[in-house]
Amino acid sequence: MAATTSIVNESNLSRRSFLRVSATAAGGLLVSLYFDFPLAGQEGQPRAKVYPPDAFVHIKPDGKIIIQVNRLEFGQGVQTSLPMLLADEMDADWSQVVAELAPAADEYKDPLFGIQMVGGSGSIAHSFQQYRELGARTRAMLVAAAAQQWKVRPEQCRTEASVVYGPGGVSAKYSDLAEAAAHVPVPEAVTLKSSADFRLVGHKIRRLDSRPKCDGSQKFGLDLDLPGMKVAVVAHPPIFGAAPKSVDDKAARSVPGVVDVFEIPVSRKGRGIAVVADKFWTAKMARERLQIDWDFSGIERPDTSQLREKYKELAGTPGNVAVARGKENALDGIASGNRIVAEYEFPYLAHTPMEPLNTTIRFDGDRAEVWAGSQFQTVDQAAIGQVLGLTPPQITFHTEMAGGGFGRRAVPDSHVQREAAAIAKRFTGTPVKLIWSREDDVQGGYYRPMHAHRVEIGIGADGMPIAWRHVVVGQSITAGTPFEAYTTKNGVDETAVEGVGDTHYEIPNFLVTVHHPTVSVPVLWFRSVGHTHTAFVMETLIDELAIRAKMDPIAYRRKLLKPDAKKLLGTLAVMEKESAAWRSNLPVGHAAGISCHESFDTGVACAVDVSIVDDRPKIHRVTLAVDCGVAVNPLTIESQFQAGACFAVSQLMAKGAITLKDGYVEQSNFDGYTPPYIVDAPTAVDVHIVPSSEKPSGCGEPPVPVISPAVVNALSRLTGKRYRTLPLMIL
């Protein structure tokens, strides 16, 4: 990657006290050092305490090292693991490291995707090199500064815990060197540590944000409080895309504390009514008193039972070709007794992160300030700009700590931020916090799409599949968004077939086709996206094949996997070993369920111990083996997989479905759409990370796909039934 180095004009430097280097290549690396104490040697310049937005490392006089994280922290631990990379290469004193969530800015964009984002389990994968180099460059500049002062060569110095040590017993703290380091040319080439020298990376390091999250001091977006702030809620059309015909807002306006009531555009070309008040409860009460007559004429009324029928029908016909390999008519030559025909159904799923969606905006006419726990900062910033008539540089966009996301905070159409902007626009100078209530959230769309699969498998004499015809039906997540160009070719949205089309199983005659019906329900990626349903289908069918072949399910997978499926073969072996003892010792009424799946370049193999208690699956234990390349923070990874296993039960819950009837979403809160509680979640989860020096891959989403098929595979062994429709209502 070619990079040019330029040093900002010296006088500018001293006045603004920063140093910047930018690389022109597509990766866009930027190293900045900020020092907020006086720079010596300035003639008559005022001491500037400036924190321009494009800093990654800020060394404070007291020794604290502020590291900017270019991703939203919403539970996945990136706020700790990315700084670890930088701090390790920098040889920083970890106890002095403070992580901050970077605001929206060009330099914080994902090096690969070119937008500031978190998703696709790509944080470590895409910023691994970036943050290491940032740390190495910073270290090099500090050493150069020390070497200059001591008149020695940099190679004669070493660093440890925020101190540079020179020959003859000299030493200097980073905080004392930082000013001088600002004047050192930023080196183009840096040497990264060998893994043997890592002090942090590869070690179990506790999260930096635990304590504030345990004592109530951590502020999330919803907690924001600004002087003069108002709170807004929106009455959304109960059917997507509708608009009010008439509104009687007299009762709403008469609630003390209500400031205004007015119409705004909402998603899917619909219109809603915004209520702005001094407090949330006031706004909510007032909204309940609105009398809205909605115009549903000409509005599509999606209905789950109708969609199910339609999807089932579509699944019986070939769609757009995603993968075609081998002979198209290979199935024809296989007797029906050697075939499996399986139809699967998956409902809409709502993400329901614990912190309801919210965005705070203050519009100042020629500028705006935004506070949002966003997974898509620069996308949202641009969208807000469209509504307010501003460009991104005119919008300061603060990244707030978010209470979960699972994809719900990465929305291509930025609909929540657009609503907030439309409201803030009417209150120049006043910050307005838009809150979506839990009901708004459950009923507001942007779900994991509904899906149907139809699979026909022709089985060979050895029990292995020799022909596989697979039709997937479901809305395209990216259709109509700027992301469509990246995911969709030949009418196939990759995100609908990932996990099937790219299967690592050796299937010689393989045809995967897709139908993408158009439905007015807004859809979105949900933690592990296509793998949420494709892994379920693949891993339950593989298990069924194993049973038919009278083979052990692990052995069957080992045989069927392609030889180059290294991550899956490796994790399968580790899982087999680590679970052998309990699998061979199951109490009566328990069964083991097996699965393995690779997603986002991470291979995972899984064994679960399940029994049936109160007509529900009770998961006593999960053993997981993971290959994610270099494990930056094994504690984060363990956490992600333990908790991810609990999250993954979501789609098995009896009330784990969003359904629509005649256009209306039938559920409204956790009473009707119920995520896993502690009793529904696995009791114990042991995680085994396969040692690797390959480049790191993600751990945010990979825990999810393996769990539900493994549980259902265990259930099948207990009941003899096959489970092909989710949610799991009856066992």
């Binding site: 009473d671 119920t674 509680y677 009793v679």
Partner: protein, 211 residues
């Protein structure tokens, strides 16, 4: 099941009896535990008592009452008597468990603004007062009657309970749901329940034989 025509007759008969009855209250206390309860004279016919019992039974088995008289380790909710959400459980003293007590949500009065019903000492009826089977089916009139009379020797405690227990009173003023709609009421008023109970008690708490 009492046939409607005979029920009408019995109701008329009871009204007369109620008007004539003179009864002094026993000292308040938990059902069946007060051994100093005055003996109640048996007045009125067995038929009158049985008819009165059916009226009482109709109230006991209404969701506002029976939702907490379960045979399981959980209460029920709603007119459809579904299992109470949020994994609440009975607990050792019928009041839930630490961190998930009944009082965790249910206060001493109805919270209409949030839709949570409340009354003093909100709790499950003890298992000794279960009127459902372990699979959540409502027990028959004969079964419930037997259950009640096995506990309390002559029923004056029951009368007291029906007259004064805060949770019984609650059933007749059960508050509003979140959407503002009123919760459904038992088929009798509180006064009617007390009156019917009195008749049944005075008749010697007769129980139907078959059902």
């Amino acid at each position: 099941m009492v046939h409607r025509s005979t029920a009408m007759l019995r109701r008329f008969f009871i009204l007369i009896l109620v008007g004539c009855a003179a009864w002094s209250a026993a000292s308040p206390g938990a059902l069946g535990q007060d051994t100093a309860t005055k003996e109640v004279p048996v007045q009125g016919s067995r038929e009158a008592g049985l008819a009165a019992w059916e009226r009482v039974y109709s109230v006991l088995t209404h969701p506002r009452c029976i939702n907490c008289h379960t045979a399981t380790n959980y209460p029920q909710q709603g007119d459809d008597r579904h299992r109470h959400l949020f994994n609440v459980v009975r607990g050792p003293e019928d009041k839930g468990v630490p961190a998930l007590n009944c009082a965790t949500c249910h206060q001493g009065a109805n919270a209409d603004s949030t839709g949570v019903p409340g009354a003093p000492n909100w709790r499950l009826a003890p298992l000794s007062m279960k009127w459902q089977s372990p699979d959540d089916r409502i027990l028959s009139s004969a079964q419930v009657c037997r259950s009640l009379t096995n506990r309390a020797k002559n029923g004056s405690g029951i009368l007291d309970h029906h007259e004064k227990e805060s949770l019984v009173l609650w059933a007749f003023q059960p508050g509003r749901r979140r959407d503002g709609s009123a919760r459904s009421l038992p088929p009798l008023t509180h006064d009617e329940l007390v009156a019917a109970t009195r008749v049944w008690v005075e008749a010697g708490t007769p129980c139907p034989q078959n059902h």
